[in-house]
């Protein structure tokens, strides 16, 4: 079933990102704070930790595809989200071999990943000239609120999805191994 569910959830998350800005109160944006909700990346990290195996790369493919779609439908410049998301999933993939996937590891990895992804986006967009923003302003007005909101969202996702993902993973990959 996960073959159907996972792409569906990802699609839904991408679609919902278009409405996410409306749910952020205007008082926050008027104060000059920028909150970017990386719900797709959160889901991808959870998938990598609890669904994908150490030697499978399904999530990397999901990351490339969903990054590409976000680039096309929400920004002008193709490749930035695609690159950042896939590099970070690749990083989590590497870390997974070293660390045991539990709640604390997941929290730490998510915190680092969201921070690095957002900073990568800032670096690339700054380099191209899409945005002109001082590093200090970026750190205090975008990175900090983004990290806070995304970590709250992460705990929510973790509670909702973790058990299901482990179940789907067992169903899918055990079945495959027994078939061999």
């Amino acid at each position: 079933m996960s073959r159907v569910y996972l792409p569906l959830i990802l699609t839904l998350l991408i679609v919902l990102q278009g409405a996410a800005v409306q749910l952020v109160p205007t008082s926050i944006s008027e104060a000059g704070w920028i909150v970017v909700i990386h719900s797709v990346l959160l889901f991808l990290i959870l998938l990598k930790l609890f669904y994908d195996l150490e030697n499978t790369y399904y999530v990397l493919i999901f990351a490339i595809l969903s990054g590409l779609i976000i680039d096309i439908i929400y920004t002008d410049i193709i490749g930035v989200y695609m690159f950042s998301y896939s590099i970070l999933v690749f990083f989590v993939h590497g870390m997974r071999k070293v660390l045991h996937a539990n709640f604390y590891v997941a929290t730490m990895l998510t915190f680092v990943s969201i921070g690095v992804v957002d900073f990568l986006l800032y670096l690339i967009y700054q380099f191209i000239g899409v945005v002109r923003m001082d590093l200090t302003v970026y750190l205090s007005h975008r990175l900090m609120p983004t990290l806070i909101v995304n970590m709250i969202l992460f705990f929510l996702f973790y509670l909702l999805l973790k058990k299901r993902l482990v179940k789907w993973s067992n169903e899918r990959f055990d079945h495959k191994q027994s078939a061999h």
Binding site: V36, Y74, D76, G79
Partner: protein
């Protein structure tokens, strides 16, 4: 799949090359989007319309409650205004008739004022807030083209950045830069002639639009309304853009500039109107040459 494991560095380098290539591709000045982009844009636009309708319904419900609180006071003011509108309406009708007659006299049928409105609904907003863009539910099939002006009842909010078959992307006014100039007139009540200038883009520090005048004008009152002049070749004449907030000179003291407060709120958009100018529009390449 073991390919990834053995050649990690190689993979990252390859990803970098792909990134640079794709960015280079999307930064080139393209007249049209590729078919793949249009396909994704339309499919996701369609899904957004389905999924976001309940979301928008809920959020508009709350804003409705908000506005109900002020309803009584607003109603009083509106009733007073209504009496005046009757008089203005009569005047407008007379003027319109007269204008029509004069135009007939001159055998002139088209004017840069005329446009066909295309009603559209905002279906999504970019989560990456550095891109000031929203998606609307009308595309090429409904007659929307690149560079058309987009307005709400309050005034101009932006222009069409790219059009797909069934959806299109709108670049909002606060994302305008020097490549999206608007030729404008500033209405001076005492003078007969309007002050002319260009909107150069959005100034992030002041949170205002930056207007540069082509000539030096002695007296421009603060609060003077700014309209599109239609001479840029893309937008029709007379779209309201905003009011002048502050008047200064540029850093060399040679040209007169002004900060313009946009009259429409670009942060809360539901229903917008795309403006299809009736008169032939020049291509954007011609415009930038003319303006330079």
């Amino acid at each position: 799949m073991s390919f990834f494991r053995r050649k990690r560095l190689f993979t990252i380098l390859l990803a970098l090359i792909v990134l640079v290539g794709l960015i280079g591709f999307s930064l080139t000045d393209r007249e049209q989007r590729s078919t793949i982009e249009e396909f994704f844009q339309d499919t996701f636009g369609w899904m957004q319309q389905i999924v976001l309708t309940p979301v928008n319904y809920v959020s508009s419900f709350f804003s409705n409650i908000d506005s109900m609180i002020d309803m009584y006071d607003e109603n009083q003011v509106l009733k007073e205004n209504l009496g005046q509108y009757q008089k203005i309406l009569y005047e407008v009708q007379e003027l319109r008739k007269e204008n029509q007659e004069l135009m007939n006299l001159l055998d002139k049928t088209e004017s840069i004022r005329d446009y066909t409105p295309i009603q559209a609904t905002v279906i999504a907003r970019s989560p990456e807030q550095w891109f000031k863009q929203v998606t609307i539910d009308k595309g090429k099939q409904d007659g929307v083209e690149k560079d058309m002006a987009v307005i709400t009842a309050e005034g101009m909010i932006g222009k069409i950045q790219s059009a797909s078959q069934f959806t299109s992307t709108v670049l909002l006014l606060n994302g305008f830069d020097r490549s999206n100039r608007i030729a404008v007139n500033v209405n001076l009540s005492e003078d007969d002639e309007d002050a002319r200038g260009f909107i150069l883009g959005y100034n992030e520090e002041h949170d205002k639009l930056l207007l540069e005048f082509t000539e030096y004008y002695e007296e421009i009152p603060e609060g003077a309304p700014v309209f599109s002049s239609g001479l840029g070749g893309v937008f029709p004449h007379g779209l309201e853009i905003g009011v002048i907030e502050e008047l200064t000179t540029d850093q060399y003291g040679l040209t007169q500039i002004a900060y313009v407060e946009p009259s429409a709120n670009v942060n809360d958009l539901r229903h917008v109107i795309v403006i299809d100018r009736d008169l032939e529009t020049s291509t954007s390449a011609d415009v930038s040459e003319e303006e330079d």
